[in-house]
Symmetry: C2
Subunit: 339 residues, 2 copies
Amino acid sequence: MARRQRSSLTDVAHAAGVSIATVSRAMSQPEMLRADTLERVRAAAARLGYRPDHVARTLASGKSHTVGVVIPTLNSPIFADTLQEMQRSLDAAGYQLLVASHEYDPAGEFAAVDKLLAHGIDGLVLVGGSRPEATWKLVESAGVPVVQMWCGRSDHACVGVDNHAAGELVARHLLALGHRRIAVITGRLRHNDRQRARLEGIRAALSEAGVALPAAYLTEQALSVPGGRVGCSILLELADRPTALIGTVDVIAIGAIAECHARGIAVPEEMSIAGIDNIELAAHVSPSLSSVEIPATRIGSETVERVLALIADMTKAGHVMLPIELVERHSTGRPGETR
Amino acid sequence: MARRQRSSLTDVAHAAGVSIATVSRAMSQPEMLRADTLERVRAAAARLGYRPDHVARTLASGKSHTVGVVIPTLNSPIFADTLQEMQRSLDAAGYQLLVASHEYDPAGEFAAVDKLLAHGIDGLVLVGGSRPEATWKLVESAGVPVVQMWCGRSDHACVGVDNHAAGELVARHLLALGHRRIAVITGRLRHNDRQRARLEGIRAALSEAGVALPAAYLTEQALSVPGGRVGCSILLELADRPTALIGTVDVIAIGAIAECHARGIAVPEEMSIAGIDNIELAAHVSPSLSSVEIPATRIGSETVERVLALIADMTKAGHVMLPIELVERHSTGRPGETR
DNA sequence: TGACAAGATGTAAACGCTTTCATTACGCGT
DNA sequence: ACGCGTAATGAAAGCGTTTACATCTTGTCA
């Protein structure tokens, strides 16, 4: 297993009988060379199996053609969709995506950002705007363009949705169906502005309708199917059992449906359940899940567009709010008998 | 937004009144310095907010402390689990994970590998062993240690499971329940040795029991829930309807359950359905899905262990087969009335 | 045919770090 | 106080590119 036998510019230059500058140009600005020279260099490069060294290139040019993204977790269908699209769009633009995750830990996020920055990324993508000042300072001192996804602070570009409105949307849907005892299962709120905004939206819609959200009707759980199950079972034990449940993300709502199933509680007859995100699976559980469509793929493509624009010229780009919409399916209905 | 104001070794050296070599050592081999010098350098570095430049470091040392992984898709719960764990383990070892995906396209995989290699990765992780010779050549000529995941060619290290055995396991389970008309929904077999091995395992178990797998009982679909639904609906239209369905991955099996639900076909009474992977969701759909546990997380950690070992000394490591096991749940049962 | 502009190629200095080798400083025994 | 071995530090040469800037070819036009 030969070690580092990759040939360098020098080797190719020597083989083609030209200077390394010429070879460099043959690689990056072929139109500057005379046709026969270009041909000669290309032949030599091919013969030697030359591959440009991205690391050296980055050091010399200061441009890495790489965009870093820091996400809470890889284990989420919605982030996966967004990442997939980012990878696609960046690739099409000749850029590479560098992914780091931190499991919802602010210190981990700082470390991830630091690493990415040290890797010489040209642009940085973060999720949400809520993080320690130290992290923001780090980003700003690096002078690298940033764009936030989902939601974010107003002093940096952002491509997202109105999470508050998403919360309102689900809540209003349930209210319109006649529900008055509506409980909520959210993810951990600390360090998570998306979850907080959704919850606030729900609160706003509820209080606007004169409906209270008692503390007992709110439970914070892991952002996962089991999290949803746990949350649901807690709410089902309540003396004053709710008639409807909102999961602030679909995976939680799906967990809640599973728990009701396991307990023989009919959805939506005895319990209406709704989520937010409209992940692919939402349409395929039974009953199919009413949810709020969040255009994850589009967030990905628009984010890439923004970050590439910022890299090209460092003008500040504003906030982009993508449209969301309620998708009614079969997990929600009018409240049943009043117990 | 200041540009590249990151301070360099030179700045710190100047501020601390030492040479850049000393600063470099203060960063990487602090034990070589006298306590007071070290302190002085550290203070200067802190004052200037110095952060080492990973790119320069890589170029100078030839070590990038980065491992690249190329996966078919980010949009798969099982890969997500593995990646998550790889990220964790690598991080703990001071390494960074570089992820690229290619949507099951061999040309895309080649491009991804090429990019990763150009990025100066110290180690490479691939999924499966089935790819064009050109890709293997590229990898080998780079002299970078490789480890395959899930399954792979014997001339390179591999951490995986016996996919053939996994196929046998599900098939035998269904046979043991008394099924004789067993149909299979797989992912695309071309370029996917995991899928092929699982299918072969199923075939082997079937033929061993003297049961045929007619061509009509086999359908290739997308590796997704909708893929499973489509496959299932095709099989349900058959005149000689099967009594059991195997999805070679859980998401397909879950799609099949959804389709049966939608058509009012009782699972498992009228149709038994089983999968492979045992993703988290499998336990929470209804009926809960019988599946074969594939230790995705452990594949991640063992893979990292192997690749780091290979980076440390280039001795060839062999193949590791992780244990798998059947998890019986409620989606499978004895065949019902014979129609 | 000669001069010149434009185009093609070469030279060499970065980029920020690691690392080898040389040099200097230090502690100790006598 | 001297010399010596060792520990600490410095000088400088890369690592493989990019990119001014300098130099050398061309072709063109008077």
